[in-house]
């Protein structure tokens, strides 16, 4: 099958962030010295232009916190000129009136604000800093200026009992969309898995709360429920498939299939400083490595459920983290020979006295922090 053109460019503008969420999708070594120089404004503009030529329709301006850069307004302008539909994914705290108005004028299409919990104290505890009140202000400001608004909440054991309250908060804020994303245990979240792991009863109650709210709210607010893959029979179609729908450029210009792929040993990621985005998309060895179905091991290869093109093999970074082999079947699949690792990990939330420590995302080396 020919390689399809990507639909989404995920532009990780910076790994800096005022928050310290213990499930951050940024790499654990985000402060590492191996990393090069940040892409300049001109380089990002070129990446945006090249992505549009490659067929990208959606642009996510994300991070870390994208607004730590002063040129997001200029990148929004470049995105609008290239015909992309742009989303700013922000923690909310740096979304001031001055910047919000400038972003609106520059043609930014959509704002997504993360909130950690409906409970102010718990939200700030998980964020590792006092941010809740300013997040609400940012969300209200986005609506006041006419931006469509998505509220994003990562769900886990510490907030899953408040799904009703979270939905009500998003509705009060005037969100068109609420994304309830059950924690994916990659990177920082993997370090905090025992503390974040919910019980099955919590998940079921949360899902019921979502079903009731969808009934009640109809089209007024769309609620997305990102499945908790540890509790599923089959793996998630991570990123819609490796280098299939989405292309990610990190703050240093490396082109990746997802946020976590630099954890996979042996893959060399091309840099937008050296090749065009189209060359990289179609020719990079790293992006070719797990594309399509030819790389799949057993039992995927002879999947009795014919799910190769549905799951796209699940998550490679998760396979690596749990089995030590990035080309293994995603252990979430009940047919994986390593599935017992998932079953065992699920028990963490069911303990009478579950873990309560959080390792916060930070630029410091990890050694000895636990």
């Amino acid at each position: 099958m020919p390689t399809p053109n990507p639909l989404l460019l995920i532009a990780e503008l910076s790994y800096s962030c005022p928050l310290h969420c213990p499930y951050c999708s940024n790499p654990l070594d985000l402060g590492s010295e191996r990393r090069g120089e940040l892409l300049t404004t001109e380089e990002w503009v070129r990446v945006i232009d090249e992505s549009a030529e490659l067929g990208v329709l959606q642009l996510a301006l994300t991070g870390g916190e994208p607004l730590v850069r002063k040129d997001v307004e200029e990148l929004s302008r470049a995105s609008a000129a290239a015909g992309l539909y742009s989303t700013l994914v922000t923690a909310g705290t740096p979304f001031t009136r001055k910047r919000a108005e400038a972003l609106r004028a520059a043609g930014l299409d959509h704002v997504q604000v993360s909130i950690q919990d409906s409970d102010p104290v718990e939200s700030d505890r998980v964020a590792g800093t006092g941010a809740f009140a300013r997040k609400l202000e940012a969300a209200r400001l986005a609506r006041e200026l006419g931006f469509p608004l998505t509220i994003n909440v990562v769900l886990h054991r510490l907030n899953l009992d408040r799904v009703d309250e979270i939905i009500e908060l998003a509705r009060e804020l005037g969100a068109q969309r609420l994304e309830l994303a059950n924690t994916q245990y990659q990177g920082w979240a993997a370090l905090n898995r025992e503390t974040l792991m919910p019980t099955r009863a919590q998940l079921e109650a949360g899902e019921q709360a979502v079903a009731r709210a969808r009934e009640r709210l109809g089209r007024r607010m769309e609620i997305l429920w990102v499945l908790p893959d540890y509790f599923e029979e089959f793996p998630k179609p991570c990123m819609g498939g490796w280098a299939r729908e989405a292309i990610l450029v990190n703050p240093f210009g490396e082109v990746l299939p997802c946020q976590a792929a630099t954890t996979i040993p042996g893959l060399v990621f091309d840099n937008v400083r050296e090749r065009s985005l189209a060359d990289i998309w179609f020719e990079s060895e790293a992006l070719e490595r797990f594309r399509g179905t030819d790389w799949m091991p057993e039992p995927c290869r002879s999947c009795p459920f014919d799910r190769q093109e549905i799951d796209h093999g699940g998550c490679r970074c998760q396979a690596l983290a749990l089995t030590g082999d990035a080309s293994a079947t995603d252990p979430v699949c009940h047919l994986s020979p390593h599935h017992a690792l998932i079953v065992e990990a699920r028990q963490a939330g069911e303990l009478d006295d579950p873990a309560n420590e959080l390792v916060y995302r930070a630029l410091l080396p990890l050694a000895g922090r636990r």
Partner: protein, 92 residues
């Protein structure tokens, strides 16, 4: 004639009709999504300006397509797209 969910349709806030020059087709773009359109759907949505009624749109397209009756198709399409929240009634 099929009842449409909307009388004077317009694209919902944050929804944009655009030509996808790489795939050579129209698309509706909206927060974190894209809907590929066939040429007829693109014609219908291009007339959803919040001024024209569904009947106006059907009449205009019927004239454009040599008088073929399109009323049911237009109403059905708009209902389906309104169900996804991408088109709303301008007066609602």
């Amino acid at each position: 004639m099929t009842e449409s969910a909307v009388r004077k349709p317009r694209l919902a806030t944050g929804v944009r009709l655009q030509w996808d020059r790489v795939r050579e087709r129209h698309v509706l773009l909206y927060p974190e999504g894209a809907l590929a359109l066939n040429p007829t759907a693109a014609d219908v949505l291009g007339l959803c300006d919040g001024e024209r009624t569904v009947d106006d749109i059907a009449a205009e397209l019927s004239a454009r397509y040599d008088g073929s009756p399109v009323g049911d198709d237009v109403a059905r399409l708009l209902s389906a797209i309104a169900d996804r929240g991408l088109v709303i009634d301008a007066d609602a």
